[in-house]
Each structure stands twice: as structure tokens, then as C-alpha cells.
């Protein structure tokens, strides 16, 4: 391109913007197409993302009517979190759902923690996002591990025990075989989140 240009007289046709007219035209066309896609499918995607949390709420807090869930933004020390206050069909409060996330064995683990109305006991736990070791650490999403959290007290730390069944009265969780760190991470995330936000859930 440059060779030809230098020998010829400069005309408006040699301007690189004019040379690139096709690219500019395509950029405009493509952006128009894409924004149409966004307008049409954006709401569906948003609904999907909402659903990912809301479909778990009845599992976390029993007897909840999803239609009556209220989102509440909590603020403390410059941190923000969106908590879900749950009600049943008659609009009686049933509990809270609190998102929690923190460092797992491999990558960040995202959890949802269900609490009773006074935020004193855990009513459930689900893992919504994890990349733990397949076959070992990723068993944290299995019910057999998660159900141990149901009924544990929220006002004191949950501890991990190895080699024997934990006792719910002492707030103990049995670690997964071969995935002690993943199990410990889940407990730490729950403990930290509750420590920070439990007082705010009133």
C-alpha cells in the first residue's frame, strides 16, 4: 500500500479511513446486530441468572414462597451484600438467604447459606460455583456433605473433624476424605460471612 501511495499524488482516496471503509461499515453493522441480540436475549439471560439463586431458596429455607422473597442490600465497613429475606405464602417470615464466597482449594467458591428467622441456626447450604478437584473437592456440592450444616448454630464457629462423624451439637462437620482443605474452606467461608453479616440480619 505504502509503495503505491508514495509514488502517486495524495488524494482523498489514499486516506486510510477511506481505505478501511469496509471495516468501519462492518463495525457499524455488527454493533447494530449485536445490540438487537442484547435487547432480545438480555432479559432472558438476566432471568436465568436470577433463577440460579431463586430456585435454590426453597431448598435453603423450607416453606418459602419464592414470590414473596425480598432483596435487601446490607452495608458494613464499606462492603456490600444482597441478602434475601424469605417469607412463606402467608407472608410470615421463614428465614434468610445470604450469599457467601471465598477462597477454596482451587479457585473461589460461591455459596448460598440459609438461616432461620433470627439468624441463629443454619437451615441449609448450597454451592453455586466451584472449581474444586473433580472426584474429591467437588463433592462439597453433594447433599451428604451439605446436609451436615443444617441445624448448626450460627453464633459460633463451625469446625471440621477428620476420621469420625461430627456431632451437630458441637458444631462439627466431618471432612470429605481426601479433600480436607475444600471442606475447611467451606466452613471458613461460612464462618467469616456469618461473623460479618449475622448482626445485620435483623
Amino acid at each position: 500500500m505504502s509503495e503505491e501511495n508514495s509514488t502517486r499524488k495524495k488524494s482523498w482516496k489514499d486516506n486510510y479511513l477511506v481505505q478501511a471503509w469496509l471495516i468501519l461499515l462492518m463495525a457499524a453493522l455488527y454493533s447494530a446486530v449485536l445490540i438487537l441480540v442484547q435487547l432480545n436475549w438480555g432479559p432472558i439471560i438476566k432471568e436465568n441468572q436470577r433463577q440460579a439463586t431463586y430456585s435454590q431458596i426453597p431448598i435453603l429455607v423450607p416453606n418459602t414462597d419464592v414470590a414473596n422473597v425480598v432483596e435487601k442490600t446490607l452495608e458494613k465497613d464499606g462492603k456490600k451484600v444482597v441478602a434475601y429475606q424469605c417469607f412463606d405464602a402467608q407472608k410470615n417470615p421463614t428465614g434468610w438467604v445470604l450469599p457467601a464466597s471465598g477462597q477454596g482449594f482451587a479457585d473461589v467458591v460461591d455459596l448460598l447459606v440459609g438461616l432461620d428467622t433470627s439468624a441463629s441456626k443454619l437451615t441449609g447450604l448450597v454451592v453455586i460455583n466451584q472449581k474444586e478437584t473433580p472426584g474429591l473437592g467437588n463433592l462439597i456440592k453433594e447433599e451428604s456433605f451439605r446436609k451436615q450444616f443444617i441445624g448448626t448454630a450460627a453464633d459460633q464457629d463451625i469446625t471440621v473433624v477428620k476420621g469420625r462423624d461430627g456431632s451437630p451439637e458441637k458444631n462439627e462437620i466431618r471432612a470429605l476424605t481426601g479433600a480436607t482443605i475444600s471442606s475447611q474452606s467451606v466452613c471458613d467461608i461460612v464462618n467469616n460471612t456469618l461473623k460479618t453479616w449475622r448482626e445485620e440480619l435483623k
Binding site: M26, L34, Q38
Partner: protein
């Protein structure tokens, strides 16, 4: 352009003789990353095929007016647009699959297969061979991905397409197969296997 292959030839070539994974060794990132199970592999291949065919169509239609020194930019823009559409489609209608494939769907943009097909075939041939080429290469990519995914899913989790094949009673899952090293191991061994077959064929 008489020496260019016909549509049927293009289609067939993509599947075995110019297989993107084993013959051209292109598009290694998704080949390694999304082959932990067969469904993921199929979805990935389908998304790639969609982008490949659409990009081939666009490039083939525009081939007369694209300036040679700007061609790569035109290809990349086209590919990026169709990848965005594919990504949003998956997010909207197959959210679980989208979450599983994660960033590897947008990474189709930089998959060498597509840009290389635009360059080798679509920018030189008319619409029909370009479309056939897109489907052929897509099918070849599907075969490549599935061959790895079948091995990894079977040995790693004892299932195929999510159905248990190797019962836990007599089979211990090799967890390593679904982990990153398993991907390299499987691809390396399969690559050597196909090389071996190729060299045997040549000898005959």
C-alpha cells in the same frame, strides 16, 4: 479458480484428510479444555461449527471487496460478532452448559481453525464450497473433540453422555483424566495413535 476443490471435496477433506485437530493441529485450547465430558465437547463443536459456517458465508460473499491487507481484521470482526451471538444464545437458552464452558466460548474468536478456513477457503471460493467447508471442518472438529472427550469421560468418571457405563462396583475412576494432565495425556496418546495409523497407511 478451476483448481480449487469442489464443495463435496471440501466437506470430505475437513473430516479426515485435513482434520483440524489431528492433521492441522489447530484449535488446541478448546480441544484440551472442554473435553471433560461428551456433552460439553458436542456443544463446543456445535458453537464452533455455527461460527465457522456463518463466518465462511460472510467472507465468501465479501471476498471480492475485501482489501488483502485488511482481510485478517475483517475476518476477526466477523468471527467475534458471531461468537458473541453464539455465546448469548447459550447463556439465554442453555445456561448450565454456558456456565460449564465458561470463557472457552468467547475464546472461539481466537481459535485458529476459523481464521485459517476463512483464509484458505472462504476468501477464495464461492458460497456453496465455503458452506460445505464450514460443515466439513466443523464435523472434523466434532470428531476430534469427541474422541478425546469419550476417553476422558469414560476413564475419568465412568460415564458417557452422563449415563453410567462403567459401574462403580468394578471400576475405580481415574480422577486424573478429568484434570488438566489427563487432557494433555489423552491428546498426546491419540495424536501418536493417529500418526501411527497414518504412517501404516502410507507404507501400504
Amino acid at each position: 479458480m478451476n483448481d480449487q476443490p469442489t464443495a463435496l471435496e471440501r466437506f470430505w477433506r475437513g473430516i479426515i484428510p485435513e482434520n483440524p485437530t489431528y492433521r492441522q493441529v489447530l484449535g488446541m485450547c478448546p480441544t484440551l479444555a472442554v473435553t471433560t465430558n461428551v456433552q460439553g465437547a458436542i456443544t463446543m463443536a456445535a458453537a464452533t461449527t455455527f461460527v465457522l459456517v456463518c463466518a465462511n458465508i460472510m467472507v465468501s460473499l465479501l471476498r471480492k471487496i475485501i482489501k488483502p491487507h485488511l482481510r485478517i481484521l475483517v475476518f476477526t470482526l466477523t468471527i467475534a460478532t458471531f461468537v458473541t451471538i453464539a455465546d448469548y444464545f447459550l447463556q439465554a437458552f442453555m445456561p448450565e452448559m454456558s456456565a460449564q464452558l465458561g470463557p472457552y466460548i468467547p475464546l472461539i474468536i481466537v481459535n485458529c481453525i476459523i481464521i485459517s478456513r476463512c483464509e484458505v477457503c472462504a476468501s477464495k471460493q464461492s458460497l456453496v464450497p465455503a458452506i460445505a467447508d464450514g460443515f466439513g471442518q466443523g464435523l472434523g472438529f466434532l470428531l476430534g473433540l469427541c474422541s478425546i472427550a469419550v476417553v476422558r469421560e469414560l476413564l475419568g468418571s465412568g460415564t458417557l453422555m452422563g449415563y453410567t457405563v462403567l459401574s462403580e462396583n468394578f471400576w475405580v475412576n481415574c480422577g486424573i483424566m478429568i484434570l488438566p494432565p489427563g487432557a494433555f495425556l489423552t491428546l498426546g496418546c491419540l495424536m501418536a495413535f493417529f500418526n501411527w495409523i497414518g504412517s501404516k497407511k502410507q507404507e501400504n
